[in-house]
Symmetry: C2
Subunit: 456 residues, 2 copies
């Protein structure tokens, strides 16, 4: 009996256990330049029990299983390097329970963040994490995603109080509780988060949610140079202003966005800022932030007070990647994701721009400046070995600088296959521990094999 | 060669490798009612290399090693249940590097939080976590401590970006980087934090630090009942006010504090509040918080604006435990530490008071109401089996309610030996994974053996 036929005995629904060409194609790639590789079969479970039975089967037969959300990962995480089953979680996308009085929500992993927020709005709540893509919550947990609001709300790992996880052998575990904090034993919740599907398949998450802010103000602060923009950002953070977003874009990136969206933002290093809270507090925060920006040499501080202009600003920020993509149809995206100590960020960004200019590459630079995490986004033709080699050299220079300064090769995108060699270097001393954990959790190496680190 | 003589070959300093009576006594107990048990020898390492050599030796000889800070733990964590070496880390108490521009500090584990803050003040920085006791930073990391400011700043695990850890066999690893966030492989930093010395000995920590707030206001909001106080707290949190502290004390606890400290706080359920930030934002936050408290039925809202009155308020809060202790000289402290979903807190606290009243026990109830974590503190004579049995029954009722409501048996104190049986229940499905991790990290079970869970 072939794999699909065998799986049909577990889920007797041909539409949910498919080897159709388009399904295999869709589940063989992510958003990036990484080389696609199709799974043998795509399965769409709808219950935890189905996931459990599929994993028990895969464990027995030693078939690789790769969890799949909406495929917005950027480092090849969801590409089934060794074939097997792509486990598409998007039909497990229910909000199971909104607990407004507990500021918690219990969801299935296949729900996307915008779907989730639609459910939360009537309760006066929101889930603030925003990695740009409309990723699934399960995928965001798998990579410990974060994005523009991490400076205020933290990363994905900070939001999750409980997980239901199906282990490699099909057993079902629950890692946490409905308590907002706990010291009850080893932090397995935090271990599964960021493990990129290599330790278990997340089938349920309980997340912290937040009251929708009474008042939101967005602003652009324009600077003569990157250094001044960074200094202003650190001044704002150091002052204790609970800034919700503080994003750095360089002048070339603003230019790309203007071309792509027809906006008229001044083409100079700019901080995109957002303040959230009560009206009076926000007004006070904005006034102080404006003063700090002026002191650091800001040439302009422009408000986007109404929600349309604010929406436009963050769309523009999110679209920087698309603006770059639009310049090179047919090519695929390459995005660096280093995170450096805050004080190294101006130099890191200056060098990153110098590097891509030197290689004659057209790219955007976007910085989560409150975290020291920035992205260089540019386009690569995966079929052109020279272009791929240049992309790797650019990435290598950027990562090298980050590691020299005590940073990390990935602030939020995760490792996948794309950053394995850097993780091997950056986390060299703990690789044996990671391998020991993997062997303990997944002794037959069926869960997203070949990702994060080399097991042997 | 006996144990001490053997250790003296590694650290040839009789003063730092001691079997003196007072040292053995001091390292055989914590702050709580748990039965003391002396180690065979106390070692005071001063370098990571010494820790490494001691562990390599202990690993070879299968000698238990229990890391020790200042002994403020409350669940027997530091009591050497199987004898062996108590590894006193307090001479490794240096600030290794303050990086003000990165909002980071690198410290040795034996520094206490007040010592650390003395070093940070000249840089305009502070480390806000405040578990009450002046614990060591290493001890706070080992138990994932938090305290009154967790509602704003998060728990210990949220503060640590990098650890140096000596493993059971003496090897030295580094788990993180100087980046404020990272998705580079499994979250071993978060796994070591809260592992209570059972997976490795922390020898260095890199922590996030924060700008000293420009303005701080403390206040007391007095309510007719616990429920109204809780509702006000959730209203404040839901409004988006970034409240720095929101502590609930019941009327009996206020009375105990008044007797102990000679204060004249109104003896009614009260929220102790603190607001931090820029002056204008704090003023706005306070005004809104006051309005919310009034709406929820607050009978008074009293400010402690000057730093002396504010200090007095938090001293009073911290001293609630001492106030109870003062009523029973010679007895030892028992403290429950459950954390429940926020909406269950009023009922949890009402029942907890009903429980201790029913058993005729005099105790304080203190709630980190922003987290759903509350403590019942009362005194026990460890030599009186009846009294110990009553203490266990009280604890059992309180924990039972928390677990029924989806909470946790420990919000911040950790497991030690005192909560092992509850963790076995609460985390039943993941106990096999915890055991697998322990075996992988410490195959000879020398690191704080007999804690957190039963290994076999």
């Amino acid at each position: 009996m072939d794999l699909r036929e065998a799986l049909l005995t577990i889920i007797p629904d041909a539409e949910r256990v498919t080897s159709g060409e388009s399904a295999l194609d869709q589940h063989g790639r992510d958003l990036s330049y990484h080389i696609p590789r199709r799974p043998d079969v795509v399965v769409f479970p709808v219950t935890t029990d189905e996931v459990s039975r599929i994993l028990a089967f895969a464990h027995e037969r030693r078939v690789p299983v790769v969890p799949f959300g909406v495929g917005t990962s950027l480092e090849g995480h969801v590409i089934p390097e060794r074939g097997g089953i792509s486990l598409d979680m998007t039909r497990m996308n229910q909000v199971l329970e909104v607990r407004p009085k507990d500021f918690l929500v219990r969801v299935q992993p296949g729900i996307t963040r915008t779907q989730l927020n639609k459910h939360l709005t009537p309760h006066g709540l929101h889930f603030p994490l925003d990695p740009g893509a409309d990723a699934t919550i399960g995928g965001m947990a798998a990579t410990n995603a974060s994005g523009t609001t991490a400076v205020r709300y933290g990363v994905m790992r900070d939001q999750v109080v409980d997980l239901e996880v199906v282990l490699a052998d099909g057993s079902i575990v629950r890692t946490g509780s409905m308590a907002r904090k706990s010291s009850a034993g080893y932090n397995l919740t935090g271990l599964f988060i960021g493990s990129e599907g290599t330790l278990g398949v997340i089938t349920e998450l309980t997340l912290k949610v937040y009251g929708i802010p009474e008042h939101i103000v967005a602003a652009r602060a324009e600077f003569p140079d990157i250094h001044a923009a960074c200094q202003a950002a650190y001044g704002i953070i150091g002052s204790g202003i609970p800034v919700a977003r503080v994003e750095l874009v360089d002048e070339h990136t603003v230019a790309a966005v203007n071309r792509f969206r027809g906006t008229h933002y001044t083409e100079t290093p700019t901080l995109f800022l957002e303040f959230q809270g009560t009206k009076a507090a926000v007004e006070a925060d904005v006034a102080l932030a404006q003063e700090i920006c002026r002191e650091e040499g800001a040439v302009a501080f422009r408000f986007e007070t109404d929600s349309a202009a604010r929406h436009e600003l963050w769309e523009a920020r999110h679209d920087a990647a698309l603006a770059i993509a639009a310049t090179a149809p047919g090519k695929r995206m390459k995005v660096t994701d280093v995170c450096v100590p805050l004080s190294d960020m101006p130099e890191a960004i200056r060098r990153a721009r110098e590097t891509i200019d030197r290689y004659g590459v057209y790219g955007a630079i976007l910085g989560h400046v409150g975290d020291g995490n920035y992205h260089v986004e540019f386009m690569v033709d995966p079929d052109d070995p020279d272009e791929v080699a240049v992309a790797e050299r650019i990435n290598d220079e950027i990562v090298r600088f980050a590691l020299e300064r005590g940073g990390t090769c990935t602030g939020e995108h995760g490792v996948g296959t794309g950053k394995m060699r850097y993780v091997a270097e950056e986390r060299a001393s703990v690789l044996p521990l990671m391998r020991a954990v993997k062997r303990a959790f997944d002794p037959r190496d069926i869960l997203n094999p070949g990702k994060v680190f080399v097991l042997e």
